[in-house]
């Protein structure tokens, strides 16, 4: 594989940029693989990369119905954080933060990781208490957390609404300084390029139409490009999990819902951090191009549409304007939607299944992007070793029936309001 560096850039500039190697190949599927990963999104690509890198398993195929990175890894708001209270989520995400910090070097691909800090705003004394509890839990797990008072928040984001007569005054906030953003497409492309260079076949425009299961063991898949045998198969298909589960006669604690995001027209730099509104569901950051990147609530009903409706967008942006009044002056540049695999406790599932050789990675709700490296790393471990790593042991499929839920928000099973 051609190494990307300033020298290769200069060298290729002299040749008019005509000799760059392709970043990944477009192979036809072989008849058999050691491992097939279904889903060429961030998690699937990362899984294949770590299977090759950490476990020396390179006879691997990624099967993608569309094109790689066309799903949620290309549709998110690029936020990376580990500000969780529960041990399972905190330790898993913080492990991921270490992978994020080294990702550009590790992949030889600039993923533009920008640890600019995230601030969750609090709008009451009670919320400050909740945040101080969460901050303390984070610090016990080695995650950086700083509780800010109103004046400290004002110094960082003076453009927020600090006037006296607002419905939700800013009391303070919880900040994770090491959180941030990254260039989402680069994450998918970086993992794809490295996985391809280590022998992984990335097969795009290939739909999985069925599974070959015999005596409780997985034997292979049926696809639009023919049958492919495999010893082990990993499902990494986020919002499409239930569609494939139905082909396996499995019913899962997952519902698929729609989430919208949007960006404004680009403006000069104003916001250095990621900021979330505490009296509703709204988050905002500014991209390197200057657009305000915004998102919030689910549309609120089961959907596979990948496009949203106006009422939710209106509701979310009303919250945004309550937090940052200047947003009302901006024009909307783009809105889009993606489909989320909402689990019944808001936490993911990375586990084996009752079918021998079939592994499941789903339930990321709307927090999948930040989890990309840790998800790929632990899923690769689970597949290679045929048992979960201790980092994902809590993310078991049977935790719902045994009562070991990881309900970070304490909302229960109403996936559409979480």
């Amino acid at each position: 594989m051609q190494k990307y560096s300033v020298f290769s850039l200069i060298k290729n500039a002299f040749k008019g940029h005509k000799d760059w190697e392709v970043a990944w190949k477009d192979p036809t599927p072989k008849s058999e693989y050691d491992v097939i990963i279904i889903g060429g999104g961030g998690h699937g690509l990362a899984t294949a990369y770590y299977l090759a890198k950490e476990h020396n398993i390179t006879k691997v195929a990624i099967i993608e119905k569309g094109w790689i990175g066309g799903g949620n890894v290309g549709r998110n708001t690029t936020i990376i954080r580990s500000n969780y209270m529960h041990d399972e989520n905190g330790l898993f995400s913080e492990f991921g933060m270490d992978l994020w910090r080294n990702m550009s070097q590790d992949l030889n691909f600039n993923v533009m990781f920008s640890p600019r800090g995230i601030i969750n705003l609090a709008h009451s004394d009670a919320q400050m208490n909740v945040y101080s509890r969460r901050g303390n839990s984070m610090r016990l797990n080695g995650i950086d957390a700083v509780l800010l008072n109103r004046e400290e928040v004002r110094k960082i984001i003076p453009m927020a609404d600090f006037s006296e007569n607002v419905r939700f005054p800013i009391f303070g906030g919880l900040m994770q300084p090491s959180a941030g953003t990254a260039r989402h497409d680069a994450v998918a492309w970086g993992y794809a390029r490295q996985a391809d260079s280590m022998g992984v076949d990335i097969i795009q425009n290939c739909e999985v139409t069925g599974f070959d299961v015999s005596n409780g063991k997985i034997l292979g898949i049926r696809t639009s490009k023919g049958d492919i045998k495999a010893k082990k198969i990993g499902l990494c298909v986020a919002g499409s999990t239930n569609i494939l589960a139905e082909k396996l006669n499995m019913t899962l604690p997952i519902e698929t819902h729609l989430l919208q995001a949007c960006v404004s027209e680009p403006i000069k730099p104003i916001l250095d951090n990621v900021v979330t509104f505490g009296a509703g569901h709204f988050y905002c950051s500014q991209s390197d191009k200057g657009e305000m990147v915004m998102g919030g609530d689910l549309d609120g009903y089961n959907s596979y549409a990948q496009r949203g409706n106006l009422p939710t967008l209106q509701h979310v942006l009303t919250e945004g304007i309550a937090m940052f009044p200047f947003l009302s002056k901006l024009k909307m540049l783009r809105t889009w939607g993606g489909i989320m695999d909402m689990s019944m406790d808001g936490s993911p599932i990375i586990d084996k299944t009752h079918i021998d050789g079939l592994y499941l990675n789903c339930g990321w709700c709307y927090g999948g992007f930040k989890a990309t490296p840790a998800s790929g790393w632990t899923f690769a471990h689970t597949i290679a070793q045929d048992r979960p790593h201790k980092l994902n042991a809590g993310y078991s499929l049977n935790r719902f029936s045994t009562g070991h839920l990881i309900d970070e928000k304490g909302l229960g099973t109403k996936t559409w309001i979480s």
């Binding site: 239930n242 139905e246 899962l252 698929t256 009903y301 089961n302 596979y304 549409a305 409706n309 029936s401």
Partner: protein, 88 residues
């Protein structure tokens, strides 16, 4: 925007309604032995199909009645709305 025909009030905009999830889920019967598996099915497991989906909505800013809606989860087309006690 979705337009939902409330069987009590007629066609109204989505803003007046709140969602209540899969309407095909049946609570295990009262006063009977319920296995853990049945509770698990009822509380946590959902088919979440692509295509036709029977679901509960509440006309919260209208007559406040719960209703059933048969809707396509891919196209958002609404085929049929029913009173809560009616079967498809």
């Amino acid at each position: 925007m979705l337009h939902i025909k409330c069987p009590h009030c007629g066609l109204r905009s989505q803003n007046e309604f709140s969602y209540g999830g899969d309407a095909s889920v049946k609570r295990p019967e009262l006063n009977k032995e319920v296995s853990d598996k049945d509770w698990d099915n009822f509380v946590y497991l959902r088919k979440s199909p692509i295509g036709k989906h029977l679901e509960l909505w509440q006309h919260i800013s209208g007559c406040r009645q719960w209703i059933k809606v048969e809707r396509d989860t891919l196209t958002h087309e609404i085929f049929k709305t029913l009173k809560a006690n009616e079967e498809v």
